[in-house]
Symmetry: D2
């Protein structure tokens, strides 16, 4: 029999409290059951999970194994009592962490996954698209849980300035869309809200996709590819425009979210004319955006 | 001749101001001239550079090409008027960005590089070690420049808890250091100060290396390897200990830095017994750490 | 209606044939139904898929959209006629690629995924461990299909040389296991065989795990951690030893595989005493290994 | 005093010979002195270095510390006797490895670096561009040294098929260049030759850049950006075309290289219309390409 480890319990030796102590990169399959049109959709998401809690100055070490035990306990519980989203999973896990680490005041959880969603090409064909998705939760003892949903969406941006320049050089009369450089653009939106607010992920992704010059697709037959290229050249956008249009979309579409919702939007353009990228960002409270 | 691009100047169309607009991943060789023992040491560092400024709501687009022009101008200036460190480079560049983007209130610069430093093994042999180094600068119009130095140092941590357990199981009498698991540990320190404060990088790295169970070395002859392993097993540390010892070191060694110095310390242990990592963090003002 | 694209069909313009033309990084959830103890285990694996075919000199361009169509067709077929493994998926897809690209002589498929497997700690507790897994298939028109299974397994290696040195320096009498440095070790095994041979993945992973100083676990209670550390220090291994023991394991355990099985084994040790890694490799036919 | 380590020398215990044993990821600044227009250009390149040798079945372990000693010795020698290129460095290091590992028959060296080169925009402005560069050397005892130069060049490719489709849909009359999707394209060329052949790196990069729809630049004023976009749309290329044009360039420009030169060319297009990439490859002897 192994006696308890004195090393972790010798109180009072540590001079400084720590903001975060935990584990990162724990790989787990997470099962969610999503409601859609009245049906239950079973999905298994491969997640990389980070969890941590704070550590008071009086305590020598954090009980790291409790973190993995908590992850396992929530996964087990989901077998009988499923979650509807990875942010719901993160919230549930953050609460259990506070239970298990009785000395901690805060618990943080982050899950990264690849999420798949049905989409439709310009000419109406169905495709399946993948997105990096992150869910975070922070539980503060006595103050509830805040959660974040982070969607990283790939689209296309076509440059309005080079189009204008090309038009001038070529002497184009403006009847047809004019050439410009275009490229992959990654638009990332993070929304941070109290746990009771729902942010349906499929709608969020679709809303973001509407802010590019064009969304992108896994499979494009010739007519779809042509339509997509034409659409993009009729909706040219700088990285600044992608961010601003996304902010405007959030203000108009998310009227149910409270003013204190924290918003972070970033658009990064993998410039086809340079070896480096261009980017734009905005962070703000939703309430402030509503007034701008 | 190409007329000015109207697209970028059409004021008042953009509804939202943006926190950051710029370019990232610009690769450049940066020359620094470091003073050491009264000598000038010429070094060329390969840097990946990110720069951005804010954008007011009244302006349609940021002038992205000015960012690369500013980087080039500072590199050119360094030929005749060299900088002593990459944080000095970042500060100089942040000021020029505010000059070039007359509409901006803030400018941000970040440089990532690999830095090399002479070191010495336990038994006195010379080695050359590499470190990831980041310098950041934020210039606020009318309020001066704040800079950050971020040193990412690789060392070894050996686990005190598993050592205690192994001692109990084996019935070791404590005369010899007892086995435990050990692994790479990455300790990252970020210090944010007003631009006039100097943070000599070699000393900072050496100070951090003193907070591991042992520093690591590119080349170890047998006696050095033996000495290093013994040293590490006599200075076992959790990730929590690495962070706390680093915080204590900062308090005792950096008495010249002001209370408002922002400190962030993270230790991440690439656990040899798990497939995932363990980590600990603390962020605080130096003034608060001085009082804990 | 969009007429056929002449660009891709104008034959005879291309001077050089190409070895490979295709798409890479297509993300897809792939469902497999594994037989285990007479039961069907349904698993959904997140896969990154690369596919390509060769292109004769006479053909201007490859039909890239057929690659994604082929991936989708095999995923659809798996709904009614499931595969038992990702290598079976790769084989099926490689055959369909040859069908769809009638001008090609070779088709290549590669799937990368994270695979989970139940494991057991030294003291008998159950855990779930994750592994990077790759399956490849190459179909040659008229010559059948060859497939590869690549398992990347993380374990621990403890250094025998530093242990010997520490023993000498400390004057240890050899009764107790002596300290040494240990670290994460990644052992990768690739086996390439004709399509009809089965290589059960769970057994392969377990066999590789037996060749480390110790396997690693997501969750270790104190007694398990102590036992694991002691086990590892009683089975110290260089990277060379991990590779050789793996080769010996393959010879003794895979007597059913043919002599022409291509074997590649690599062990990489993330040295806790250095900032760089150490590695060893062997590639050979299984028949040659049987005679060494 | 530390006696010699018996562990590494106990012969005959190892059953299998190993193809490669060594270290990887050793970071070093490497100084080269390039001849250009009769001048000596001093450059310091940040290199990540891998080195290894084979290990016969009769030898228990490889002397890993000799690898780092060899790297240091060649760097020291370069202070007085500089190399002109990183491939010359790799060749010199591979020879020293065979000297130091008297039991080995083969030595392999690989250096990865970021290389900078002056370039010129379409309208004649100077820029500085960065490229990933790899040099490899393989020394076989008694058979000399073979070296490889690998240049990874980023450019732009614009799609001819989508341009054709857009032209049809839009009813464009062909007077002006028609819109299409374009994106970053990474073209990688590896040339493997006996050590005595020189492959000037600046010329190689420029030759590859001529095979894209357009090269890319760190800084483009408006007229340059417009010219570049127009150029690219007048030289649309599939990934297949980039590879084939590169192969044709190698045949016409490298008449001094022997028939047994090994050629590998890959073009990867970071498709702006998809979330995945498209790629094409060819590997061949230069002699075979000369006959196709």
């Amino acid at each position: 029999m192994i006696p308890a480890c004195d090393v972790q319990y010798s109180k009072g030796q540590g001079r400084f409290g720590l903001s975060k102590v935990g584990v990162n990169g724990v790989m787990k399959p997470v099962r969610i059951v999503r409601k859609e049109d009245g049906n239950d959709l079973n999905e298994v998401l491969l997640c990389s999970i980070d969890v941590c809690v704070d550590l008071p100055a009086t305590q020598k070490g954090s009980h790291l194994s409790r973190n993995v035990e908590a992850i396992r306990a929530v996964i087990d519980e989901c077998a009988s009592n499923p979650v509807e989203s990875i942010d719901a999973f993160a919230v549930r896990l953050s609460k259990l962490l506070l239970e298990k680490h009785e000395y901690a005041q805060n618990a943080f959880v982050s899950l990264d996954t690849t999420y798949f969603k049905d989409s439709t090409t310009p000419n109406g064909r169905g495709t399946l698209e993948g997105y990096n998705l992150t869910a975070e939760a922070e539980a503060v003892r006595g103050f509830g849980v805040t959660k974040s949903v982070v969607a990283e969406v790939i689209g296309m941006s076509a440059c309005p300035c080079a189009q204008e320049t090309a038009k001038e050089i070529l002497g184009a009369n403006g009847e047809l869309p004019v050439i410009t450089h275009n490229q992959r653009n990654v638009c990332t939106v993070r929304l941070t809200v109290p746990e009771q607010f729902e942010i349906p992920i499929n709608t969020l992704i679709e809303n973001i996709e509407g802010c590019f010059s064009s969304p992108t697709f896994e499979l494009l037959k010739r007519d779809d590819e042509g339509a997509m290229v034409i659409n993009a050249h009729r909706a040219t956008k700088f990285v600044e425009d992608v961010v601003r249009d996304t902010l405007a979309m959030l203000v108009s579409e998310y009227t149910n979210l409270p003013d204190e919702t924290e918003v972070w939007v970033r658009s990064e353009s993998e410039e086809s004319i340079h070896k480096h990228n261009a980017f734009a960002e905005r962070s703000a409270y939703l309430g402030d955006l509503r007034e701008e």
